[in-house]
């Protein structure tokens, strides 16, 4: 259910995102999911990569002067059909939990679109997901993609 995410701080300047992707490309890192939070001042890039690349990616990012950090996020499968995302959000709403952010993978698994969820209170939602048979994915599942 929890998978590792890497967050990278980016200055709001032309070329900084490319600088980061170039570094990851040179080190053979496959970006499985990506989202960018942009403000007028700065951006935060969030990445999902395979577990065996994480330490190496963090090391190279830090050496190149990027601020990068690892944290846990929830990974759920959302069926590729109308109303599926809405169903998930209804559950989170029922739990009265706020969503910090949500973004999807570049992969489809078992007819599901994979989504990354960052919630204020994950535990509560996980229980509800289980009751509602919402498929959640582990780091091992992701590594196999």
């Amino acid at each position: 259910m929890f998978i590792s995410q890497i967050s990278v701080f980016l200055e709001n300047a032309r070329g900084t995102l490319r600088e980061m992707t170039k570094l990851l490309a040179e080190n053979g890192v496959d970006i499985m999911a990506l989202s960018i939070a942009d403000t007028s001042n700065f951006g935060i890039v969030r990445l999902i990569i395979r577990e065996n690349c994480i330490d190496n990616a963090l090391k190279h990012l830090k050496n190149a002067g990027f601020m990068a950090k690892k944290n846990d996020v929830l990974c759920v499968g959302i069926p590729n059909k109308p109303g599926a995302l809405d169903h998930i959000l209804a559950i989170i709403e029922e739990a009265d939990v706020s969503i910090e952010y949500i973004y999807s993978f570049n992969y489809n698994v078992d007819g599901n679109a994979l989504f990354v969820l960052r919630l204020m209170d994950s535990e509560k939602v996980i229980e509800l997901f289980k009751e509602n048979n919402i498929k959640m994915y582990s780091q091992e599942d992701i590594n196999r993609l």
């Binding site: 967050s7 403000t39 001042n41 935060i44 990027f66 910090e100 952010y101």
Partner: protein, 440 residues
């Protein structure tokens, strides 16, 4: 010997602990000699005294100092190189120059006796910071025309310590030597000491693995918060040292381990605080511009030299036993002072806010610009691991906290720009903290 004197080592107790009445008499005598020397040998100063209608015999005591004209840094530029020397060139044994990076150079000439006086001032400073013949002292100020390196070197040699003349730069090697030789004292700028401390941490070396116990840090203004940070980082007592090439070099004033202001070597210089606008002397305790008169120098004596440094003087007795007046931290410079939308802003105020916030880096840059005739101050702050989060809300909250704190201390609105770690240039000499883009 009383207990206070026991814990505080004093290089020259006779001079440094002299009764203030006797000190005043000594100062008056030495001032008379210096005024005579200056009047007879330095045409610029003689013409200034003549223009004010002051003769050397009008100056009898320290109280008459206010009759004398001021001298300025521009005098050293205008009279470059030898115009202000009071001794013949054959008696000058040393030239030192300004560490400034802008404008024309300035140089100061020292006679043999001047070098000895300066050396003794630094020896007093090192002793006051706990240094002596059993210490290994690493000098990481730049060696050369800049007085930092040679000044600390001479003083450390004078107290009989084992001196390691590293000069500035090559940080990895500095740390290697510090560790391998078991260096006990460090002399460099506070910003370089911080950089050394951070690099030591990054290299995985713990402060306990080093033998460092104290340091004399100067050549740039720093804050009480930066001291706390530095002391924690290196596990040392960090003492402030003050000086300027025009007066001697580092050691004009120095802190003892009480760390309650820097003792001015008053048997060699007379210190005043003046109102920077009117030039009128201010009483002890009031904040104003520091003015020094040398009273023992013979190569290039300076009378009423305006430093443009802003601070206060404190004549209350110090627990260390020294009687010499203490100058508080330099809170700014009359020429470093930023006037932003009519508000006086000193970089040190911003620094104290940043260092006081948990997880915030002490490395910053102030960028001033004028947009549509309005002044804007941007504070660039380096992001640290503790500050960074994967959510925008947390980072923005921290940014707003910094902005609020600065507003409450300085009184103006700033734009806080978070920048990646290590992106603000580290300096091995004086840190550059201001970029002023305004075309006024």
């Amino acid at each position: 010997m009383n207990s206070a004197l026991k814990e505080h080592k004093i290089y020259d107790p006779q001079m440094e602990c002299m009764n203030r009445d006797e000190l005043r008499e000594l100062q008056s005598k030495r001032l008379r000699e210096t005024v005579k020397l200056e009047y007879e040998n330095v045409p610029l100063y003689r013409s200034r005294m003549d223009a004010k209608g002051v003769k050397p015999e009008d100056i009898r005591t320290v109280d008459d100092l206010r009759l004398l004209p001021f001298s300025e840094k521009t005098d050293l530029r205008d009279e470059f190189p030898f115009g202000l020397f009071a001794a013949p060139k054959s008696q000058i044994v040393r030239i030192q120059g300004s560490s400034g990076t802008t404008g024309k150079p300035i140089v100061a000439g020292y006679t043999q006796s001047d070098v000895e006086i300066w050396t003794e001032m630094v020896a007093r400073a090192i002793t006051a910071a706990g240094g002596g013949k059993d210490d290994i002292i690493q000098v990481s100020y730049g060696y050369g025309l800049f007085t930092g390196g040679l000044g600390a070197h001479q003083g450390a040699t004078k107290v009989g310590a084992m001196v390691l003349p590293m000069s500035s730069g090559n940080t990895q090697r500095q740390i290697l030597m510090m560790k391998e030789l078991g260096v006990t004292m460090l002399c460099c700028t506070p910003s370089y000491a911080t950089f050394l401390g951070e690099t030591i941490r990054e290299m995985g070396i713990k402060p306990e693995e080093l033998k460092l116990k104290s340091g004399c840090f100067g050549a740039e203004p720093w804050s009480e918060e930066m001291r706390a940070h530095l002391e924690e980082l290196l596990g040392i007592d960090a003492c402030d040292i003050y000086g300027l090439t025009e007066i001697a070099g580092p050691g004009v004033a120095f802190e003892c381990l009480e760390k309650k202001g820097m003792h001015v070597n008053e048997d060699h210089v007379i210190v005043e605080i003046i109102d920077p606008v009117t030039g009128e002397p201010l009483p002890y305790g009031e904040s104003g511009e520091l003015v020094f008169s040398t009273i023992t120098k013979t190569g290039m004596p300076m009378l009423r030299y305006r430093t443009h440094d802003i601070c206060k003087l404190d004549a209350s007795p110090c627990k260390c036993g020294r009687t010499h007046v203490r100058m508080e931290r330099i809170t700014g410079r009359t020429d470093d002072m930023l006037v932003i939308s009519g508000v006086n802003v000193f970089p040190s105020q911003i620094e104290s806010v940043l260092v006081g916030l948990n997880g915030v880096s002490p490395h910053y840059m102030l960028v001033v610009d004028r947009v549509k005739s309005r002044d804007k101050l941007e504070v660039q702050v380096e992001l640290t691991e503790e500050m960074f989060s994967d959510t925008v809300a947390e980072i923005e909250k921290l940014r707003d906290d910094i902005k609020e704190k600065i507003k409450s201390v300085v009184g103006i609105n700033t734009k806080i720009q978070l920048v990646p770690p290590k992106s603000i240039p580290r300096s091995e000499g004086k840190a550059k903290r201001i970029i002023d883009k305004r075309n006024i």
